[in-house]
Subunit: 127 residues, 2 copies
């Protein structure tokens, strides 16, 4: 368990390094045994080397910025805005840290747009 | 802006009341002008009355429990596990509060399962 501000800084470096394709800086904030989970596909990546490679090899000219960051006592959550060409998407990511303030677990969600189900038009507006 | 523990308690009551279909308890932790956003459908619900109704009228025998809660200085995030019959899903929700400690904004994401894209099998395992 790490102090919230410490993990929060590691998370900011994580996203800034990814955006800059600075894989040395990215690796520096990861625990050696970092575990990445993607619950939507039930994929898991174990260890710093594989996880840096997973990100470095990720296809597309993607760009991202933090839209919200929430730092709790032992976890940090980000909501990022991501563009790939003209496509826009967002991701929500949960982070936990180790005792050295490095990122120990990363859990990513990539929610996709969908059409609202019928029957609630009387309560909602669209934006 | 409310103290993190205060908003955190309101959020716990929000989910417990929803699970119990206690709409009076649910309404009690909402600001009158609560705004609900669902970025995936770009739907918005404004005001306590409409928002309680939106939840009360939500179809299906849904049940939910908090899997993770992260309380920051002015925001709370939950990751909930939800079942509807045999179907399992999860939601990630961002909350902000008003000065009375009630919930002022709710932003919900419902990520859906999908098949992983090819090309990264050398780095991932499935769980």
């Amino acid at each position: 368990m790490t102090a919230p501000t410490e993990l929060s800084k590691a998370v900011e470096t994580y996203w800034a390094s990814a955006e800059a394709r600075d894989w040395t800086g990215f690796a520096a904030v990861l625990a050696d045994g970092v575990v990445y989970d993607l619950p939507q596909t039930r994929e898991r990546v174990r260890g710093k080397e594989a996880y840096v490679r997973f990100n470095r090899e990720y296809p597309g000219d993607w760009h991202l910025r933090i839209q919200r960051i929430v730092a709790g006592s032992d976890q940090v959550v980000t909501w990022i805005h991501c563009t790939v060409g003209l496509e826009e998407m967002y991701a929500v990511t949960f982070f936990t840290g180790d005792e050295e303030g490095r990122i120990a677990t990363v859990t990513d969600f990539w929610p996709e747009a969908y059409e609202p189900p019928p029957g609630r038009e009387h309560l909602v507006e669209r934006y």
